[in-house]
Amino acid sequence: MPAKFWNGQKAIWETTSIDGLKTMEPDLVIQMYRSMLTIRLFEEKAKQLYQSGEIAGAIHLSIGQEAVAVGVCSALRLDDAVFSTHRGHGHLIAKGGHLPAMMAELMGRQTGCSHGCGGSMHMFEPQVGFMGGNGIVGGGLTLALGAAFAAQYRGLDGIAVVFFGDGAAQQGTFHEALNLAALWKLPYLAVCENNQYAATTPFAAAVPTADIAPRAAGYGIPGIVVDGNDCLAVYRAAAAAVERARAGDGPTLLECKTYRVEPHCGIIADRRPKEELERWGQPDRDPLEHLRREGGLSDSVISAVRHDVEAELETAVAFARGSPYPDPAAFLQEHANT
């Protein structure tokens, strides 16, 4: 799918020095692949632990959407703020989150990245600029305005990124946030992960147009559609938007077309058409395969990365299992207030 602009401008990255692999460090591609594989294997492990009852509650998996998280976060600095969604494990991993603390959070332990208070939907790791998942669809859109505002207020060149699904684009906060971000030229990047389903409702049943990105024209900002399963394409588009935001030129709406391979969450039946699931399950649609091919990664590199990531995950699971649950009395002491 070619990237395109909606308000008559040239694609931003055509005017920047960021031009794909020619200027991209080979290490960065390996790093991206490693990050995507970490998300994939983390999610598969989480699914397994959920099914076996070691993880409680609801978990929303982002298998198949790894390229969006990694493509965008690879264009960010540690001090840039990311606001995530209910489907946010991948965003945190891509931003540099620590796997043992994430796994411990999923298991409700004191050592979790939210000390057991958040769970899958509410992971926080502000030390790496991860400002939280969000259980409310569209909730992060306005919070990210605040981090962008804080950077602008202090005269810093940090930016704020909000990930949201195609479902969230139908919330009022989408309009309010993009309008204000554009009005105040906030260093803000709105990343719509269009995975084609809002819970179980297909995109076409919720949106009268083919894309979300053209709405950017209504706010006078660039709106870009990119193949969300092509990590390098996402990276290039995000890097251009980040550069624009850092330069003080305001926000960008980046729509990444992808597909949610897993059901909405573990507790809702999946009734999507079989042909559709099969089509998106093909290797040519798999974002990891795509990057391996595009990035020319050798089998030996792939296998070394996989070996590392599997070991890291094993350590993370062992750490989580060995960690204590939080103490209810200490929790109430800290948080209860009348």
Partner: protein, 324 residues
Amino acid sequence: MRMLQYIQAINEALHEEMARDASVFVIGEDVDQNGGVFKTTQGLVERFGARRVRGTPISESAFAGLATGAAMSGLRPVVEFMYFDFVSVAMDPLVNQMAKIAGMSGGQLQVPVTVRAQTGARTREAAQHSQSLEAWFLHTPGFKVVMPATSYDAKGLLKSAIRDNGPVLYIENRLLYHETESVPDGEWTTPLGVAEVVREGRDITVVAIGYARKLALAAAQALEGTASVEVIDPRSLAPLDLATILSSVSKTGRLVVVHDAPASCGFGAEIVRRVVAQGFDLLDAEPLVVGSAHVPMPFSPPLEDACLPSTASLTAAIHKIINR
């Protein structure tokens, strides 16, 4: 000592806190346009500039969410809701985000936001501009809630709210804006969670919230010679200074709570619950709550007056309990 209007008290607190702390900024509709609709932000944009005094589009969700995210990033926003009623279009950022972030993050992030919301009935503005919605926020873990009824507390509580490290809902009353009273020279703050015994009495305790403090003082005056009325203004509803209320009830044995919000599921019912739970044996008569009628507030003056607590209705309630 000097004379100070309630509205000037709010304005002075904003000026002083913005001068004291560069991370404090003000955001809301019209706050940069001649001091806003009610003039509470007078002079701020001229003194501190447009960077720190941010007039917004009519987008309550956006600015409430922005304030939350800015506070998570280390700033100290003061958000203005032109009317308390308008919080209903920003309930997600207020209730699901602002109030929850500290808890959900396991205490890693603080959200030092002051939410100013202006309330008041008796102004013939009908059902969507007359509500006292404090109970919604008192029911939401994560918020502190204060309701100043004097110039002294309007200034002192706003300064405390801005310096607090969590979300504080600061509810001001437009009917009190032009009330004037004598205040001390120099700087002061009113601590959160400390009630004021406004008037001492022996026969009955009247806990009066917000504007109702005026009604309670007028009723106490009217009953002089008949009953000795103790009036307590909690000032801060969460945290609540229950000890001061219990201590008063231990002396009087009788309790009436009065507020502009409807009596059903209002904070008066909660005060009664706590007094009954912790001081049942102190009571000589059933505790009462005087609030507004459970109706969308009507416009027509005789209808609105009939639906709100008044000195007369409070006096009647006190009579009922005293003569039990």
